[in-house]
Amino acid sequence: MAALPSRPLLLRGLAWAWLGGLVLAALWAWQTGSAQPAATQLDLSQLSLPPSARHWLGTDPFGRDVLAVLLAGTRNLLAVSLPAALVATALGASLGAAAGYWGNRGLRVRRAAVVVIMFSVVGALVTGPQLLPRWLLAGALGATAAHYLPLRATWPLPLDRLVLAAGAFTASVPRLVLALLLAALHAPSKPWLLAVLAGTCWPPTARLSRTLVAQLRRQPYIEAGRAAGFSDWRILWRHLLPNAKPALRASLPLNLTVCFGLQTTLSFLGIGLPPDELDWGRTLADARLEPSAWWLTVGGLFFLTCTMAALHLLSATDSRNGTPHSTLKTADQRVTNKD
């Protein structure tokens, strides 16, 4: 991979321009409030028209302009997938870094706090739905309080094993099926969809960051830092993170492609967003109402493919700037990313 010539600047520029255009489209849709160009008002004279000078990409079976619908759909795509990818990357990076840094016995926690947390988790699962938030809140407060009790006995927290097990548990069902199940647990809404996307996408980033930090931890400068009496947080934040950053930066575009793909797939299946919200996947699902109207499919597919290609290009160039070591790992992560 390292032998490949660096990508032409033109392609990178195009990729950035495309993504910038998407952000502008989302801002436009947000400003004009046209994220829901009412599916209720049918324009009967404009149903499923092929592309023309007036409608560049034609009209859909509801008489709406396909280009306008796609541009408006960008808003929901960016409003859900972008934060979801950011949360997934941050969550994966921090969990993986903690697992790689402290390992199985590096971190010790108060026994009292562990008991309180286990108690509240069991309580939350075995009681009815109304009490769930109360249990979780009580667990958090109780664990904080238990930390200040005079009971000083501690247990080593097998952080590494826990993070790996959580990742394996999440990965024991294919990502799309897990997302289907989680999305069905709650009424369709944007925050829940965001949580579902973030909750299903974090394990590859966590594995990557765990390996990186576990390797870097054995470097002499970290030992020197520890000998100098730096705190764990300072070592993690000021010394390990900057060195792990190049590889982690490549995982953000990757998570973004995964989130985009998952969100459009879910809304193509009619799941996730409330039914009156626009989204590229939903536009493509509408195309199935009118099988002879090829322009419906082609417009949506063009937008999706360009976005994926742009993100893919940027992630590839990003990982090439990193250490040669990281390229292999992101490549491996990429191939295992398939739903």
Partner: protein, 336 residues
């Protein structure tokens, strides 16, 4: 070996139980177990609503306590509870009744599997059959490999339904080349696939299988190529060539057995992935299989069907892992 296998089997079963229990308890804890039967317009008189709701709660067994006990205040409920009855039913192979039509979940899963298994099975076989020669070819010719990698990554990052719809638009729509049928199985009703007219079935399954194969080949061919390239640098390859073995013989008899564990592990990873991929493909091509069943259940928030399907897929993945580990241990005793 047998002891290790038994241990792994026990671990796999425990994982499956944990997954299913978490799904069940989480669904009930989030309140998704109680279907919202009537919306505000249909409610009408308050009495009707409560009567209907009580009736439905009794039918679904929701009037029972959720778990064996309650914390805070402590109370022991004992065996007649929702979790216990669900677990005993599941152990007997009964996964409950659908919220939508009341049909037994295992019956609808079985009917759907009769359509899905030929689709995913042939896609897996074709993928394996294509990836093997492709990887061998790419290991021998680096310039092929360099050209294939970007295409493979792009195919891998595109959502599956994009690939499916692209094939559908290009090869099945009347405006381009209407070579293949756009949807269905060509048979009356949904009694599964008739093996009698397999030619007709193959004609109808060609595009869905092609879409699945197209996105799964990179995930299988790339790691295998990497493994083959790593093996090529070993000294024993040079020895074999010096002894006069042909390039083909070196590839098939010397390189492949050493790279095969990678291939088998990736193939076992692909088994549940292909089942999940069929979710999208079956919706695009309107096949009445397991994937469409799951997608429709998710859209209608029909949890018994979803949990049953997830349990089945998790079991298939665990089984695939076990089989792959056993085969790998047989091929390469160092891995046992």
């Amino acid at each position: 070996m047998v002891r290790r296998l038994a241990l792994r089997l026990a671990g796999a079963l425990a994982t499956a139980w944990l997954i299913a229990s978490t799904c069940f308890l989480l669904s009930r804890a989030l309140g998704a177990g109680a279907p919202q039967l009537l919306n505000d317009e249909q409610t009408g008189a308050f009495d009707h609503y409560t009567a209907a709701e009580t009736q439905f709660r009794q039918r679904l067994g929701l009037q029972q306590p959720l778990f064996y006990f309650r914390l805070l205040p402590w109370r022991w409920h004992g065996t007649p509870n929702q979790y216990h009855s669900w677990l005993t039913e599941a152990l007997h192979g009964r996964l409950g009744a659908s919220f939508r039509d009341g049909a037994a979940v295992e019956t609808s899963l079985r009917t759907a599997l009769r359509v899905t298994l030929p689709l995913t099975g042939s896609a897996l076989l074709l993928t394996a059959g294509l990836a093997l020669p492709l990887a061998l070819g790419m290991a021998r010719r680096p310039q092929w490999y360099r050209r294939f990698v970007p295409v493979a990554y792009l195919l891998d990052s595109l959502p599956l339904f994009v690939v499916g719809m692209l094939l559908l638009t290009l090869l099945a729509s009347p405006d381009f080349w209407p070579l293949f049928p756009a949807y269905g199985l060509g048979t009356e009703g949904a009694e599964g696939i008739f093996w009698g007219n397999w030619l007709n079935t193959a004609y109808y399954l060609a595009l869905p299988v092609a879409a699945l194969v197209l996105v799964s080949v990179p995930a299988l061919a790339l790691p295998l190529t990497e493994a083959l390239r790593a093996q090529q640098r070993q000294a024993y390859v040079a020895t074999a060539r010096a002894k006069g073995a042909s390039a083909r013989r070196v590839a098939w008899h010397h390189l492949l057995p050493n790279a095969l564990p990678v291939f088998i592990t990736r193939l076992s990873d692909l088994v549940p992935g292909v089942v999940a991929g069929s979710v999208v493909i079956e919706v695009v091509f309107a096949l009445p299989g397991m994937g469409r069943l799951l997608a429709e259940a998710a859209a209608a928030r029909d949890l018994p069907v979803l949990i049953g399907g997830v349990l089945l897929i998790a079991l298939s993945r665990l089984l695939a892992w076990l089989v792959a580990d056993t085969i790998n241990a047989l091929i390469d005793p160092r891995l046992a």
